[in-house]
């Protein structure tokens, strides 16, 4: 009975949270920025790669990693989406709306479930637009080096990118729920998980640990952590295992956020 009632109130909470998301201007700004930044950068990177490839074509011993060239823009393009996720959760605390939310939705699990679902579905919706846009923009830039959507590894990277963006935003939302505010969350998430780990994941001394950071693990499927099998950049796990590691991070952050919300006074 309780479970059924919770399912009903999760649906109402999801509807409410969707209204919250679409009634803020910052949502449109962040999401649009995410799409435009990712696709625009993908085109420019494609152009740049294409130029390099034609000048180096004769000395090139290995085939260039075109997947890397295609999806590299997402390392930057993901940031507005992460900011959106952080604001969707952290804005509640910063503005005090959390009091109204918990008064209207006193079952904290239902409120939390509705909120996280709304964030995840919104990001998934944006990802489903962004990722193909990124792919085709990059191929346009790559010109004659461009790949077709059914080339080796491409379908898995396309699906992986959508999953990656969704999971990384859920992870960010969960962390924000644990930290109960946007400022600290952005202050930790952006430098440590997104900007820092890019370098950290490839520094030999810390790579052993840093390669398991959420974005590092999730990016393997897009070849963004370096060519697979490379002794320097290679990972001891495959692309789907990497996605699994990211999913575990997201799940842990979700649970941590829920426990924080349940235990603490609003």
């Amino acid at each position: 009975m309780d479970a059924v009632m919770d399912a009903v109130s999760v649906r109402a909470a999801l509807a409410a949270e969707w209204v919250k998301i679409r009634t803020l201007r910052s949502t449109a700004v962040a999401l649009l920025l995410g799409v435009v930044l990712s696709a625009g950068l993908a085109y420019l990177l494609g152009l740049s790669f294409s130029a390099n490839l034609s000048s180096m074509a004769r000395e090139q011993t290995e085939p260039a990693d075109l997947l890397f060239a295609t999806f590299y823009s997402l390392t930057l393009g993901q940031l507005p989406l992460v900011v959106f996720a952080v604001l969707a959760v952290g804005g509640e605390y910063a503005s005090g709306t959390i009091h109204a939310s918990l008064t209207a939705m006193p079952r904290r699990g239902a409120f939390y479930g509705g909120k996280m679902l709304a964030v995840a579905l919104t990001v998934l919706g944006v990802a489903v637009v962004t990722v193909p846009a990124v792919f085709f923009a990059a191929q346009a830039g790559l010109g004659r080096y461009g790949m077709s959507p059914d080339a080796d590894g491409v379908p898995q990277a396309l699906i992986g990118s959508c999953l990656y963006l969704t999971l990384i935003c859920v992870f960010a939302a969960g962390v924000t729920a644990m930290l109960r505010g946007p400022a600290l969350s952005l202050g930790i998430l952006l430098p440590v998980f997104f900007l820092g780990s890019q370098g950290l994941g490839n520094v030999p001394q810390v790579k052993a640990v840093a390669q398991y950071l959420p974005d590092q693990a999730g990016m393997v499927i897009m070849h963004l952590t370096g060519p697979p099998g490379d002794p320097h950049f290679g990972r001891p796990y495959g692309p789907w295992a990497g996605m699994g590691i990211l999913a575990l991070w997201a799940a842990a952050a979700l649970i941590g956020g829920y426990l924080t919300l349940r235990r603490r006074d609003a």
Binding site: V4, V19, L24, G96, I98, T103, A104, M105
Partner: protein, 366 residues
């Protein structure tokens, strides 16, 4: 039974509902077991406590808020009023005790906005959202039709500002939006925390009339304030707390009668003879520091008659009533968290707080 259906009939200002609180379709179709009639619309606070580390914010508080009247929740700042209200709404977890509304915990109400309307901090609204957007998500969360959003916006006079972002709202407009949110679900129980704070006199009167109207419709109106004077005008019943403890739970009239101690002040060149004449008539008299007399338990007319009978010269006879604020300060004084050190006037009363005319508070009451 498991889901709340749309509101069938909506209350308009002035429409009366069954005073007994019978749930005739308007509110009764939210999920959960039906409460027994004796607890409908009743806020029952039972032995409630809240401790933050070593600080005790609420200390074994027990009282009951009943329907059909405005119950004022009074106490100095920091007395634990807001903490009590937050615990009633399940926002804060009590250290001990519990609060039941309709005989149930708040968190057990499946569409709580349709049972209980609350305004805690009116500023708790995202500044980037419009008034309409804010009310719309609240409505969606409790399956309240969007048409109701328009209704409450009109009710509080915000229909023109509905699409404007809350960032640009004045304090008064924000307060009105908070009231609109509280009324959104047409709830039979209302909890309002300091609703008149920062409002202009017109806004204060508007909220006062609104609350009295809602109570007259048979609703339970529980409103906190640190202003005794405002509550004396608005509330039918008073619950006074200090340092988290219950100090008084009484009707406003009883409180006023018990606490507005009035006396007759007499200025006379013959204080000794006057004193004897009054004492002979059984009137309790004391001499104030400035040489005037205070006669207790009598009226100005009787003092005048006694003076005439004794052939005494009297320069002034007047009734003085200690203000309600003073009574409130006296009641909460011992429990005030931070009390300003006041110089002792010597005669036991603070003359500045005494009012020269009685009945002023009462006169303004209706």
């Amino acid at each position: 039974m498991l889901r709340c259906r749309p509101i069938l009939r909506r209350l308009r200002p002035g429409r009366r509902v069954d005073f007994r609180g019978r749930q005739s379709g308007t509110f009764g179709d939210c999920a959960g077991p039906a409460p027994v009639p004796s607890v409908i619309r009743v806020i029952d606070i039972q032995n409630l406590s809240k401790r933050y580390g070593d600080t005790v914010a609420v200390d074994g508080l027990s009282f009951t808020v009943r329907p059909g009247r405005v119950t004022g929740f009074l106490g100095p700042n920091g007395a634990g009023k807001s903490t009590t209200m937050r615990m009633a709404l399940g926002l804060d977890h009590p250290t001990g005790g519990r609060v039941l509304i309709d005989g149930r915990f708040y968190r057990e109400l499946s569409c709580p906005l349709r049972r209980v309307g609350a305004m805690l901090e009116a500023r708790d609204v995202h500044p980037g959202r419009s008034a309409y957007g804010h009310l719309l998500w609240l409505a969606r969360s409790n399956r309240i039709p969007a048409a109701r959003v328009r209704e409450v916006l009109e009710l509080v006079g915000l229909e023109k500002a509905a699409r404007r972002r809350v960032r640009g709202f004045s304090l008064g407009m924000t307060q009105r939006l908070g009231i609109a949110a509280a009324l959104l679900g047409d709830p039979p129980v209302l909890l309002l925390d300091e609703p008149v704070n920062g409002l202009d006199p017109e806004g204060v009167r508007w909220i006062r009339n609104l609350m009295r109207g809602l109570a007259a419709e048979g609703r339970t109106v529980f409103v906190s304030s640190h202003l005794m004077g405002e509550m004396a005008l608005t509330a039918d019943h008073l619950v006074v707390i200090g340092r988290g403890r219950l100090l008084a739970d009484t009707s406003t009239r009883e409180f006023v009668e018990a606490n507005s101690r009035s006396h007759v002040r007499i200025r006379t060149p013959e204080p000794e003879r006057m004193r004897r004449a009054l004492a002979a008539a059984g009137v309790r008299v004391r001499q104030a520091a400035d040489g005037t007399l205070e006669a207790h338990g009598t009226e100005a007319a009787r003092v005048g008659e006694l003076a005439a009978a004794g052939g005494l010269t009297v320069h002034e006879i007047g009734t003085e009533t200690a203000s309600l604020e003073e009574a409130f300060m006296r009641l909460t004084g011992e429990s005030a968290e931070h009390r300003a050190a006041a110089p002792d006037t010597g005669d036991g009363t603070d003359r500045r707080a005494a009012r020269p005319r009685s009945g002023e508070r009462r006169a303004g009451r209706r």
